[in-house]
């Protein structure tokens, strides 16, 4: 198995804000341009890797534009950097552009909305290990839960360019349709597998949507769609299939259970609260099994992950 590592060189970089707009009901899209050394560093970005964003010097939006639920949180100062993944990375000759999709959930993400075109963004990256494509894979099943979309979107793009031979489909789950960070909303979502979701369709990736409240696609957990697809496609050799997932830990646990039961390779992108993102603090522990033993050990989400083999992770509650 070849594990494609991005360049191991991580560093402190700056990017220039090209745009920063509310791109949907629940999320914003920040586009950054990197030049020089930063451009080279992020040209080697592997989907699933992440950055640590320093937003401590950003302003708070004016009180009127702060959602009521966040008014208390907005007063909190931000000290630590925040981890984010990229949903798209495009490397040209001298510059690299990257898209960051983010939800406003607290003081840091709230401050990010005040970034304007031409502003400088301070970040550390690329960090961690991204998704790997083992040899011999013919089918990639992408599973998204809510804000787990950005790294999976990034992976879908890289698969479409670097592995056009791999058949890729996406299963997109959410509490409700408006909580999905989709830039272009289709007029209607098909119930089954179709090219109705532009985010994936433009990459040639068919998808299936599932929502808990039935506001789009299948009503129920996205894992039901995954199971159904596997039932309906029993002829694929298991060793040629791989599942990639990012979303809430409960969803990842369910995806892992399905994949492990069928002995299908599965990589999950995990989330933890991170103080440093670079292996200094040990705050981001992920409990992992040790092969050939009942013991478990803690690995570090920021260094050993955030992408893990689903077989090794001992899933717990979300790290909220």
């Amino acid at each position: 198995m070849t594990r494609k590592h991005a360049s191991r060189k991580k560093g402190s970089h700056t990017g220039t804000v090209l745009s920063n707009v509310q791109a949907g009901e629940c999320f914003w899209k920040l586009r950054l341009r990197f030049d020089g050394e930063a451009a080279r560093a992020f040209a080697g970005f592997t989907p699933g890797q992440f950055i640590q964003f320093d937003v401590s010097d950003l302003a708070i939006p004016s009180t009127g534009s702060i959602p009521t639920a966040l008014l208390d949180g907005a007063r909190r100062n931000v000290l630590l950097r925040r981890p984010f993944s990229f949903s798209d990375v495009t490397a040209d000759a001298d510059t690299t552009t990257a898209d960051l999709l983010y939800c406003i959930v607290g003081p840091a993400s709230l401050r990010m909305t005040t970034l304007r075109e031409g502003d400088t963004a301070h970040l550390i990256g690329p960090l961690g290990n991204g998704f790997a494509v083992p040899e011999g894979k013919q089918t990639a099943l992408l599973v998204v839960g809510g804000m787990g979309l950005p790294p999976i979107r990034c992976l879908a793009k890289s698969l479409s360019i670097e592995h056009p031979d791999i058949e890729t489909v996406a299963f997109i789950g959410s509490r409700t349709v408006n909580a999905l960070p989709l830039e272009e909303r289709p007029a209607r979502f098909d119930k089954g597998m179709s090219l109705s979701v532009p985010t994936f369709a433009t990459l040639g990736v068919p998808s299936m949507v599932a929502t808990d409240d039935g506001s789009a696609g299948h009503q129920g957990p996205v894992t039901e769609c995954l199971s159904q697809w596997l039932r309906e496609n029993p002829d694929r050799p298991r060793e040629e299939v791989i599942v990639y997932a990012c979303g809430p830990e409960r969803m990842l646990a369910a995806v892992a259970q399905i994949a492990n039961a069928k002995e299908i390779d599965c990589q999950v992108s995990m989330e933890r609260r991170m103080a440093c993102g670079i292996g200094l603090c040990q705050s981001c522990a992920i409990e992992c099994r040790v092969v050939g033993s009942d013991e478990t050990i803690y690995k570090l989400c920021c260094q050993d992950g955030p992408v893990f083999d689903a077989r090794e992770v001992v899933f717990g509650a979300d790290d909220a």
């Binding site: 991580k10 401590s56 630590l80 440093c276 200094l280 603090c281």
Partner: protein, 313 residues
Amino acid sequence: MAERFDMSVKFAGLKLANPVFTASGTCGYADELADFLDVDALGGFITKSITLKPRKGNPTPRIVETDAGMLNAIGLANVGLERFVAEKLPVIARMKSAVFVNVAGTTIEEYVAVVERLAEEKAIAGFELNISCPNVKKGGISFGTDPAQVEEITRAVKKACGSKVLIVKLAPAVTDISVTARAAVAGGADALSLINTFTAMVIDIETRRPVLANRTGGLSGPAIKPVAVYLVNKVYREVAREAGIPLLGLGGIRSAADAVEFLIAGATAVAIGTASFVEPDCATQVVAGLREYCLRKKIARLDELTGSLHEPA
């Protein structure tokens, strides 16, 4: 090009290239920082606490951010003495900076066993005794709050550490820190470091649960800096100056200006903790800023600053 200025300091008989350390538990085992700064340019490097047996540490969430600080309850997760010797020591041995191994345990015997095993290692300049970690259930902080125990454990470890320098790290949340400082000095400490974190708690008001899986965690970062400056000054005036014991000051330092405050308060050297998470090269930035300060203030040698606090106007 900066003017030449000798940044070296004498610290418990050691000559250090400069007075800036990285603090225990905030700088990994050195190789993690190497992408961001020249680890050889540090005055000192203090490892994560090492215990006799490996420790998995606490469940997550292990950290939570607060206003101007953070709480951590890592639970002394570390590879344990044997793997430290096999895997980490060779990396550390290549460092030019003075390396101190931070030692923790639940019994005096455990502390002594770790120090005995490492006392002959050339790569190590000394030890920092962590008797003040708020995040382990047994021992830990109780050692650090009872002066009789502080003296006893310091004496036992000092006997085991041969010619190496012994720094005792003091707990801040005691009635009178000078009492524990005196006890450490009586036990044979070569230097004192202060402060470790304060036990603290953050509550999620939606669930009415503590945010940290461990309920409580240690508060660090800018929030604790003024308290740390005060405690360094108190220990300097009441214990260290007279005993001729150098202080390693830490707690919330993120700039050269912060570091200068600690030196004026009485510290001979300083350590960067939480700030390295935000700016991984914070320690070397502080070294550069200190140099500028000394040149601007026409200070000939850094030790002129130590304890140079004037009376209020």
